[in-house]
Chain length 150, copies 2
């Protein structure tokens, strides 16, 4: 086994493909979200709020794998854009409840079409995507456990 095979070749690295896949998906979303004035991450927050409203900052963080250091500035931008409101929870003053404004709620109508575009962009059937997603989630679980242990 020579030097070449001992080192991680870029073309063999799964991490790079995950990086590239995420980037590619991000790039499909951007032009679809631009007319709504939403970034990719902001869209993911909106999807969460369309499911359940209100959500605390940490509840949003649990869904997206992010913490207040990333979320607080972004949520302030979304508040300034008139998409959401931020209010201290009366029952627990540590928590900040995030709610959709009327304007934010009305964007929900555009989301179905965006999701359809994404499905189509993958060139896969719904069944294929579900199988792939299941595989991906198993891998995520393993990697997260490894990160927490190590």
């Amino acid at each position: 086994m020579d030097d070449k095979t001992m080192q991680p070749l870029l073309q063999h690295m799964l991490c790079l493909d995950l990086y590239a896949a995420n980037q590619a998906v991000h790039r499909v979303y951007k032009p679809l979200l631009a007319p709504l004035g939403l970034t990719y991450l902001q869209y993911l927050v909106m999807v969460g709020l369309w499911e359940k409203d209100p959500l605390s900052v940490s509840e949003i963080g649990a869904r997206l794998g992010l913490e207040s250091n990333t979320l607080t500035p972004m949520l302030k931008r979304m508040e300034a854009a008139g998409l959401i409101t931020r209010r201290r929870d009366p029952g627990d003053e540590r928590r900040v409840n995030i709610s959709l404004t009327t304007e934010g709620d009305e964007m929900r109508a555009a989301a179905g079409e965006i999701q359809r575009c994404l499905m189509e962009a993958t060139g896969r059937s719904e069944a294929e995507l579900l199988r792939f997603q299941e595989d991906l989630r198993g891998l995520i679980g393993n990697v997260r456990r490894a990160a927490d242990d190590g």
Copy 2:
């Protein structure tokens, strides 16, 4: 079909899983790379240079899907850290050749072990990972084509 099924549920969104997968891998790498003083992205650049040296900025960009607006500042940081050198190509003064310093080249030795840790973190066999990677690359290709067309 009610409102709920018309909207993209967060738990069904593949994009979120790709986002989470990338994040999880990133988090496994970080502590492994910290002793080397490398960020995740800087590591990916180093891997490229361990394969071929020198590389131009755009050659690195083609491998990582990034452009000079991201790479130039990062490469300057790597230069300041003594990992690489940046020199204009004498044959084409538009190009900037990136080369490893002796210190940068010597880090190569640590890369094999890091790669092994990552493989292990996935909890998958090499064959399983290759199959998954092939699937992922197919999906990336489709999504990129969709992004370029649309």
